[in-house]
């Protein structure tokens, strides 16, 4: 018997997973808590790309995948897909957000004020190597401001609209279950506005950055000015079956508005995501700003960037090339060899006389 390998494949799979997991050791509740508390920005990135807001699950996914981001996000997406949709939250508006950080590059000062909030933007990037020799790095406590910034802030675009600098987009009247959901229906082009913003919200940060950066560097027509960047918490307001509206909690959100001069008006690019991820929303808003009228096949065309920044799809396809392809390869070899033989035969056969 030459061919009884069926079980062999299964055994190999099992052992390969054990090898991978052995390196990570035991996963305990303590480990999950440590990951969650120590790496909020990593958790945020993962939650955003997974479109699943749950810090514990995100930390668990990271622990289970050993920090392999694409794996962690796939774990969460695969879990998310099995969950029922229990309720719909009320829409959140910019002015209602509990704002931690909100800056505008367009004006020196803005109504509500520039609120720097938590950021390393102006930090000197120096490693605290003393920790490696046994010291504990203890962050210096924050001195609270004498007058705290207001928690709710108006949007910069609203001021610009009042002053005739830009036309605000028409408010979308679609409500509740009628709001298109890209996780429950296919993405087709030209994409529904909801699908575009949802896709950008769950796009892979690195991919959005690569294409957004290409647009910023000059492969896009519009140069973004960060009109407003906001890190905030949004109230998740749901309606109880008895009719009571209540907050089911808060989720961290980021959003960016970028503008560009187009004739006598400013045009607006927008992106938002769950969790705090500034790079992603600025890059995504840049793509949104550039997508209108972008040539087919260019990096700023909606179809191009939405397809290619889908992290679960792109990473999955990339690693699928590890799978055996010997049937397709054999098929190509057959055509190649035959074409080569034909050419050789042609070279040795003398041209027939005229």
């Amino acid at each position: 018997m030459a061919y009884v390998a069926t079980r062999g494949g299964e055994r190999a799979i099992e052992q390969s997973q054990r090898l991978f997991r052995e390196a990570m050791g035991d996963i305990s509740a303590d480990r999950i808590q440590e990951i969650r508390d120590a790496m909020p920005y990593l958790i945020d990135r993962v939650m955003g790309e997974a479109s699943l807001y749950d810090e514990d699950l995100a930390a668990l996914a990271l622990a289970q995948a050993g920090g392999e981001l694409y794996e962690a996000i796939l774990l969460l997406r695969a879990w998310r897909t099995t969950q029922p949709r229990l309720a719909l939250a009320a829409p959140v508006t910019q002015e209602s957000l509990f704002t931690h950080r909100r800056i505008s590059a367009a004006f020196k000062d803005i109504p509500g004020g520039q609120v720097l909030g938590p950021t390393l933007d102006y930090a000197h990037r120096i490693l605290a190597t003393e920790v490696l020799s046994g010291d504990t790095y203890v962050p210096t406590p924050v001195d609270p401001a004498e007058k705290p910034a207001p928690a709710q802030q108006p949007s910069v675009a609203a001021w610009q609209a009042e002053n005739g600098l830009l036309t605000l987009p028409q408010a979308d009247a679609v409500q509740g279950n009628d709001i298109p959901d890209v996780t429950r229906e296919p993405l087709l082009f030209p994409a529904k506005r909801a699908h575009t913003l949802q896709s950008l919200a769950r796009a892979e940060t690195g991919g959005v950055l690569a294409l957004g950066y290409a647009a910023q560097r000059g492969y896009g027509q519009a140069h973004p000015t960060v009109n407003e960047l906001r890190l905030a918490e949004a109230e998740v307001v749901v309606t109880h079956p008895r009719g009571t509206r209540f907050s089911a909690g808060r989720v961290k959100v980021s959003q960016a508005e970028v503008v560009n001069k187009k004739g006598e008006q400013l045009e607006l690019g927008f992106a938002a995501t769950m969790g705090w991820n500034e790079v992603k929303v600025i890059a995504a808003a840049t793509l949104d700003l550039n997508s209108d009228g972008a040539p087919k096949g260019s990096a700023t065309e909606e179809e191009f960037f939405l397809y290619h920044t889908e992290g679960v799809e792109s990473s999955g396809f990339c690693i699928h090339f590890k799978l055996p392809h010997y049937v397709t390869f054999q098929s190509s070899l057959d055509a190649m060899r035959d074409a080569k033989a034909k050419k050789a035969a042609k070279a040795t056969t003398p041209e027939p006389a005229e």
Partner: protein, 304 residues
């Protein structure tokens, strides 16, 4: 009446992994795909616990069709023992309780990547092919929305031009696997990256073929007894791989699609690609009574 009598008990996972709404969508889109043979139907394509590009499209269709009585066979590149086939088979069995088999004749549902088994499939069997790229026009038009319009217009001129250019440049059509084929005289489809050897098996076949691309979110189908004609010019006949005269060194099977195994001395030996056909041939030659079904190819030639 109580809430309990109206609802099911909570379970951590639905039967067949996908929830009812996902299955319903796939059923609807599959029916549409069968109704319009070869036409790509967009679907939401839920995430499943496997990476995109690893058979998630086929898996979603299998998860939707499966029930505890469905006997499932999973193959990858013709082999039941390939690691990814083993992984998908284990998953399907785990989420459905369905029995599995490696015997093509005993299977009700066959999920396959890049091969159609050599034994003829019956009316009661369903073949689910995993599709990496559902769009045959991709090489001539990478933009999905333009390609969709081209299908609507049956605008396949560039497809023909591409084949013509290959003949002019190389003396033959250079397409390896995924040979573009006209279904029911209307839609050009990709038969998925099956070798050219397997495409004629789809033509007027008794079985239903469902082709599903998870990453690209498209389902298309070839219903039973439907014409599937590879795109060829009248004066340049369609050619399958020259495997008709090859013999499997392990089983002695002859006249089927083979895997080429390079040898240290610079030569090659061949193994039959349909691994279960190899197993059956070996068992049969060792004197066991084995039921080998009729094969599409006989003596290396496609039976008419």
């Amino acid at each position: 009446m109580s809430l309990k009598s109206l609802t099911k008990d909570w379970e951590p996972m639905s039967y067949g992994f996908l929830d009812a709404s996902a299955k319903r969508e796939i059923r609807r889109k599959t029916l549409k795909a069968i109704a319009v043979p070869g036409c790509q139907m967009p679907y939401a394509s839920r995430e499943v616990p496997m990476a995109r590009g690893w058979g998630t499209g086929g898996l979603q269709v299998s998860c939707t069709l499966i029930n505890p009585k469905t006997t499932v066979k999973v193959i990858d590149q013709g082999a039941d023992d390939s690691v990814n086939a083993a992984s998908i088979r284990r998953f399907l069995a785990r989420v459905s309780g369905a029995p599995t088999t490696t015997d093509t004749l005993k299977a009700d549902l066959i999920q396959s990547r890049h091969r159609i088994p050599e034994e003829v499939l019956r009316e009661d069997q369903i073949l689910v092919l995993q599709v990496p790229n559902p769009e045959p026009l991709r090489p001539v038009q990478p933009n999905m929305s333009i390609a969709r319009q081209m299908h609507a217009d049956a605008d396949y001129g560039r497809m023909w031009l591409q084949l013509y250019e290959q003949i002019v440049r190389s003396g033959r059509v250079m397409q390896g696997a995924s040979y573009p084929s006209l279904v029911h005289g209307r839609f050009v489809m990709t038969p998925s990256p099956i070798p050219r050897w397997d495409v004629p098996k789809m033509h007027m076949a008794k079985h239903l073929t469902i082709l599903s691309a998870g990453r690209e979110k498209r389902i298309h189908a070839v219903p039973p007894f439907t014409r599937v004609e590879p795109l060829v010019f009248d004066d340049v006949p369609y050619r399958v791989e020259e495997h008709g005269d090859l013999t499997c060194t392990r089983s002695g099977a002859k006249g089927y699609f083979m895997n080429e195994i390079p040898q240290p001395d610079g030569t090659s030996t061949y193994e039959v690609s349909d691994s279960e056909l190899g197993v059956k041939t070996i068992r049969s030659s060792e004197g066991e009574t084995i039921d080998i079904g009729q094969t599409w190819y006989q003596n290396g030639e496609m039976a008419q």
